[in-house]
């Protein structure tokens, strides 16, 4: 499963923008702050490049809960910010009456017990419990997964995993590029010289 090239390009573009803005906003940061700024810009870039998906909206919503991130987010995303923070109706959890849910659950389980051939109850129950446990864990892992269920959750996981892969790949390349450029120290010198000359003007 491959992510599309447009996604990668958009991702890179946003990431660079985000890194610049994050870098500019404060010159003296602690290591933790810098790291979280970089991570933030990476996540936002990923979410923005993906566009409208449940997990991408969830990421942006989570990040904008903190006020200090809001400004940064806004400047990174600009017009996409409004688009991505708009409430998305089809992902709202449908409010269901508990009474009806309980009744239908009872009916379904009774039917299920009647219809299924007895196949070693202990193992099937155990399997079901395990699966339930793991879906709960998965829901916590995937951003915005709490409100999803079943095949939708798996869809989102698939999407999210692909984007994460692209993110990891991109960040690896960036770090390698920076390291390589650091090694070439004369590059840095040129940069300094130029910067001085422009500062004089």
């Amino acid at each position: 499963m491959q992510a599309s090239n447009t996604f990668k390009k958009a991702f890179l573009k946003r990431m660079l923008l985000g890194l610049q803005l994050a870098g500019f906003s404060s010159k003296s940061m602690t290591v933790q702050e810098r790291k979280s700024a970089i991570k933030l810009s990476a996540d936002v870039a990923m979410a923005c490049a993906r566009g409208s998906a449940n997990w991408s909206r969830a990421i942006i919503a989570d990040l904008s809960k903190q006020e200090k991130n809001k400004v940064l987010l806004r400047s990174i995303l600009r017009k996409d910010y409004e688009r991505l923070t708009r409430p998305c109706h089809h992902t709202w959890k449908i409010p269901r009456s508990k009474k009806i849910l309980k009744r239908s659950f009872r009916v379904c389980s009774r039917r299920r017990k009647g219809l299924r051939a007895p196949q070693g109850l202990a193992t099937s129950v155990l399997a079901r419990v395990l699966v339930k446990k793991r879906t709960r864990v998965l829901k916590r892992l995937v951003p915005g997964g709490e409100s999803l269920d079943g095949s939708y959750l798996l869809d989102e996981t698939l999407d999210y995993a692909i984007s994460l892969r692209v993110q990891v790949d991109l960040m690896q390349r960036l770090s390698k590029a920076f390291e390589a450029s650091k090694v070439g120290s004369h590059n840095v010198c040129t940069f300094q010289a130029r910067e001085d000359s422009y500062a004089d003007k």
Binding site: M1, N5, K9, L12, K13, L16, L17, Q20, L21, G23, F24, K27, M29, V31, R34, K35, A37, I38, K39, A42, S75, V107, C108, R111, L115, L130, V131, R134, L138, L141, V142, G150, S151, L154, T157, A161, I162, L164, V168, L170, M171, R173, L174, S175, K176, A177, F178, A180, S181, K182, G184, H186, N187, V188, C189, T190, F191, E195, Y198, A199
Partner: protein
């Protein structure tokens, strides 16, 4: 192909109107594959199903055949007479009959076809439709054209009520997604069972997230000042664009560079310097320019790579030639990214000269 017959009940009603008394009899007779029908429509349906029945007679298949009535209205009255049939099952069998009528050549008894019909903005699932079938017959028939269908056939020997069918659809969907995820996650192909696959998926996603954390830490370590030296972005960007899996070297041979990138990159060497200034944060005018610059996005950053490139020898000759050629030409052809704002460009050119 599974086809729905969406003929309104009026076609069948006249034939069956006075036949209510005979219905129970006809049902029994259908079970025996007997030609005891009372209407031409029934005969037609029965023949087609009868041919199936002869080929593969079995008690489960006859579940489809138990209803002789083709109208939902008729079925409902007969439902009340016969206590051992659930309402929903009746509707289900009618639907299956209609399906059988439409495609007699299929061996539909044995396999299951699930088709999601998403024609023209339709709404509800079939299971939902079935539940509504207890209402008006005509209303039921008017609704299907507007609603979303999941065409399902019950498997041989399986229950045919809508609950279990809907469950089966849901389970098939989930297992399909599981298969995709199995392909995605490396090392998962030999694992069977939902729990194991989910375990692998969870581990994979967790490891990816941890990698992101680690890499962001690495990036802060590499660049303590957060002033990202930008000439490497050119490489990264080119690399992505060319869709190569190899990490590019800094001194990439000139021929490999995509000419369109080079052109547009050469054009705005000075705009990039503003970006660099911004990173260093030297003067008062910088913040102002910062506001306008982000709009021009990474193409300026990419461009600056060429302005800073000066020292790497392998780039020098080729790119300086390009500089000579392109620099005075103004804007070049199609840019991969959105174009630079016009007002910045002349200002920066002045600055350079």
């Amino acid at each position: 192909m599974v086809q729905w017959l969406e003929a309104p009940p009026s076609d069948f009603t006249p034939c069956l109107h006075g036949q209510q008394q005979h219905l129970p009899n006809s049902m029994q007779s259908l079970n025996d594959a007997d030609d005891h029908e009372t209407s031409s429509n029934l005969i037609r349906i029965h023949d087609q199903i009868g041919s199936h029945g002869n080929g593969s007679p079995n008690p489960a298949a006859t579940k489809y055949l138990t209803i002789g009535a083709a109208t939902i209205g008729e079925v409902e009255t007969s439902i009340k007479e016969q206590s051992n049939y659930s309402r929903k099952r009746k509707v289900e069998n009618i639907s299956n009959e209609k399906v059988g009528c439409g495609s007699p050549a299929e061996d539909g008894m044995k396999d299951k076809r699930v088709k999601e019909d998403i024609g023209g903005g339709r709404g509800a699932a079939q299971a939902g439709n079935k539940k509504e079938a207890s209402g008006d017959a005509s209303k039921e028939n008017a609704e299907p054209p507007k609603t979303d269908y999941i065409h399902v056939r019950a498997r041989r020997g399986q229950a045919t009520d809508s609950h279990s069918l809907a469950e089966r659809v849901r389970r098939e969907r989930i297992s399909e997604r599981m298969k995709y995820l199995q392909e995605l996650v490396p090392g998962c192909s030999n694992i069977t069972g939902k729990a194991g696959i989910l375990d692998q998926i969870i581990n994979y996603v967790r490891s990816l997230q941890r990698q992101v954390e680690f890499l962001s830490m690495k990036l802060t370590a590499v660049n303590p000042r957060l002033d990202f030296n930008i000439d490497n972005f050119f490489n990264t960007e080119i690399n992505l664009a060319c869709n190569s899996g190899v990490m590019p070297m800094i001194d990439m041979p000139f021929e490999q560079l995509d000419p369109s990138y080079i052109q547009f990159n050469c054009l705005h060497p000075t705009a990039a310097c503003c970006g660099l200034d911004m990173a260093v944060g030297s003067s008062d005018t910088v913040p102002h320019r910062t506001m306008s610059l982000p709009a021009s996005d990474p193409e300026t950053i990419l461009d600056s790579s060429l302005s800073v490139h000066g020292c790497s020898p392998s780039w020098n000759t080729g790119l300086q030639n390009l500089y000579g050629v392109e620099f005075h030409q103004g804007r070049g052809p199609a840019f991969p990214f959105q174009s630079l704002q016009g007002d910045i460009l002349p200002h920066n050119l002045e600055m350079e000269m």
